[in-house]
Symmetry: C2
Subunit: 276 residues, 2 copies
């Protein structure tokens, strides 16, 4: 396949590197700024620096841009995209993105498949990309209106470049689950480091501090877009979480050892039932 990766940040860059490392496909890179393109060409993550004219001859277009920018790019170039091309996005929210992409696909004849690689790091940019970023990670595929063969092509590529489990879902279910599994932990990390104790933590902290605060090293531009585009499910998860915190808080304040022990045991039971 001729694969165009548009947007060579950490995710697009890692996709390009992984495809070159684990498959025989040809990879072309498109990016707003020049430096990541030159780095990608230099290290063999792409075979060629391309522009949008490459879209007329491509079999797969992987969007590595921020969600809104990805839709804008596909809209602006929809006429040029090869009708046999499978377009996938890689963004962290789907209810806002997938219907727009699906409509563009329907109007212009190409195929759209939503894709969310559940991997990342608390650093950004092509410099942080890795061929092995996806090893063992979950891949979420949102078939939307794509036919089975296009979906199978995306799933096969995901397996080849190292993803562990592939799951299939709808944009709505995806966004409800992601609000909990990914967005809420980012909200938690940011809220956590606002404590006045945080700046004095060194010498007093261990693995718990490190783990809960890790993703506070956040890309503020990207995540504010993701949070607001998934506002309803995320606000609902935050509210559920605050109620749970208040239950634990109140049993501590009352000094009710039996109630508190039961609450903590309930939490442990959830983890044990999940085999974690």
């Amino acid at each position: 396949m001729n694969i165009v990766v548009a947007g060579l940040g950490i995710i697009g860059g890692s996709m390009a590197k992984a495809i070159k490392k684990y498959t025989d496909n040809r990879v072309l890179g498109i990016n707003r700024s020049k430096k990541p393109l030159e780095q990608a060409l230099g290290c063999g993550a792409i075979d060629e620096i391309a522009d949008t004219s490459a879209l007329t001859d491509c079999d797969m277009l992987i969007m590595g841009m921020y969600p809104d920018a990805a839709v804008e790019f596909v809209r602006a170039n929809a006429d040029r995209i090869n009708k046999n091309c499978i377009v996938i996005d890689t963004s962290g929210i789907k209810s806002e993105i997938c219907p727009k992409m699906t409509e563009l696909a329907r109007e212009h004849g190409f195929t759209f498949v939503g894709f969310h690689p559940m991997a990342g790091k608390e650093v950004n940019g092509f410099e942080s990309s890795e061929a092995d970023l996806f090893l063992g990670a979950n891949a979420i595929i949102l078939p939307c209106e794509a036919d089975d063969s296009a979906v199978a092509t995306v799933a096969a590529l995901a397996s080849k470049i190292g993803f562990g489990t592939v799951v299939y879902t709808t944009p709505e279910e995806h966004d409800r689950m992601i609000a909990f599994t990914s967005q809420l932990p980012h909200v938690i990390a940011c809220g956590y480091v606002f404590s006045p104790c945080c700046r004095k933590h060194k010498g007093f902290s261990g693995g718990s501090y490190r783990d809960v605060s890790r993703v506070a090293n956040i890309n503020a531009e990207l995540w504010s877009e993701l949070f607001i585009n998934n506002g309803k499910p995320l606000v609902s998860e935050i509210d559920t979480f605050i109620s749970s915190l208040e239950k634990i808080r109140n049993s501590i304040e009352k000094g009710d050892r039996a109630e508190l022990t039961q609450l903590l045991q309930d939490a442990r039971n959830v983890k044990e039932e999940l085999g974690e």
Copy 2:
């Protein structure tokens, strides 16, 4: 030194193993139940199974029990403890424990030094102990009324068995910091897994889920004691955290992208200033 470790759980067991691995001291074990003693003797974590008569001839007594049980044990055996002995506890809260231990030390002539190894795992018991659990971890020493030479002996042992940084503090400062660095992350993990989404997370989760939920696999008996004994600082940290969450939540609900971006950037700045 003749060192008695009383309470061979994950912390006491790891202390015994580390002392045997990295020093030439003799280690004797005391434990309520027999099995950990036999395991410890079998794997060389202790040189001998002991009873409280060993306290008359010991140079250091390391308490690996739960906080209240540790105080009770020292109180019940205070008459037998060698007057040259340094007693250290290893518990996660200090304002409740250190004054009681210091008073017992003053009355009976031995020395007490508070000690908190900032290492642990989300599993318990001697089976989970490791000689290298403390490698690079922070050791917090609470000198209380001990003289400099006793404090230096504890610090030297901590360095020998692998701790990275040693910090010195008071029980009150310790408990305020620990409420933030260790207890709040445990409260967060437990509150987090109460979301109805948690049981369905597989396939939709990545590193953020894993990190924030890890310590929900909690020892409910131990941590309910720790939380309630450190109620005031902990409730205050939970309240600070909930206010921070609400700020982020409200900017998402309003869809105020500029305000939300600023909040997330503020969080990132804290991490960056800390060099993390």
